[in-house]
């Protein structure tokens, strides 16, 4: 009889950690786009905080994904898709990291001359990162829902759950 695997497996940390940065980073884009021309510092800072936590979460997700990769790649039938997922994840994380760096550069008064071009560039990089984020999510979903990556398949008679 099969045994139900442990829940806290190495490959579990990736799905647990990946959804927070997705939400945070897309919300950061929304805040930065909606309040692009507003002078209200509260909204601008809120967007920066979302972006900062999102970037931290993105790198945690990259790390947990790297841990999961060593296990999942041995089981799925098309690891090349997982490689695409990994490459896209790096593009996403770097894009948002760059956007965060540029966003922070726009705060000091000494750089006020460059504030407008920096804001435009930040928004452009955020949009690029969001496209990469969606593609990363799509490839990750394909690994799970088409190939069962990291997923336990119960026996036909479900006897291990009795």
């Amino acid at each position: 009889m099969d045994q139900i695997p442990e829940f806290w497996r190495t490959e579990i940390y990736h799905p647990l950690s990946v959804h927070f940065p997705i939400a945070l980073l897309l919300m950061a884009l929304l805040f930065k786009a909606l309040f692009y021309n507003r002078r209200n510092l509260v909204w601008a800072k809120s967007g920066t905080i979302l972006l900062g936590i999102g970037v931290l979460g993105a790198w945690i997700a990259v790390y947990s994904g790297s841990l999961a990769d060593g296990i999942v790649s041995r089981k799925i039938c098309d690891p090349t898709l997982l490689k695409d997922h990994e490459n896209l994840a790096y593009v996403t994380a770097w894009c948002f990291s760059l956007a965060l760096a540029m966003d922070l550069l726009a705060y000091p008064r000494s750089l006020i001359t460059f504030r407008r071009p920096l804001k435009i560039l930040t928004l452009a990089v955020l949009i690029t990162g969001s496209v990469a984020l969606v593609l990363t999510g799509h490839s990750g979903a394909s690994v799970v829902y088409q190939q069962g990556g990291g997923v336990y398949t119960p026996s036909e008679d479900c006897s291990e759950f009795e």
Binding site: C77, N87, V91, W94, A101, L105, L111
Partner: protein
């Protein structure tokens, strides 16, 4: 100040492009191939092998994979970047399972 800003931006862009050009791997038919170890990921017991025809094989060792040097079984830690190897792979779907890896150096 403006020059510094441009330089910082260029450096960050370069890092992003480098990340975007991440490793691409190839799928080949089951068989035996010779090549060079391009990268060793010890934590995942994984190697990348560049073949003579420019393909990159990503190989995750399984419990069945035999690693040898001069016909003798050796540990995974014996593998290093730049070594010439002969690998026998079995293609399952688009996954390449290494059946055997022989270090030729």
């Amino acid at each position: 100040m403006y020059t510094k800003l441009i330089k910082s931006f260029a450096a960050l862009c370069l890092m992003m492009v480098m990340a975007a050009c991440g490793e691409n791997t190839d799928v080949v038919e089951s068989g035996t191939y010779r090549g060079t170890v391009k990268e060793v990921e010890a934590s995942k017991t994984e190697i990348y092998v560049s073949t003579a025809d420019g393909k990159t094989l990503e190989l995750y060792f399984t419990e069945q994979t035999r690693l040898t040097r001069n016909g003798q079984a050796v540990e995974f830690s014996e593998l290093e970047e730049g070594q010439n190897v002969e690998v026998e792979v079995e293609k399952k779907g688009k996954r390449l399972d290494p059946v055997s890896v022989s270090i030729l150096d």
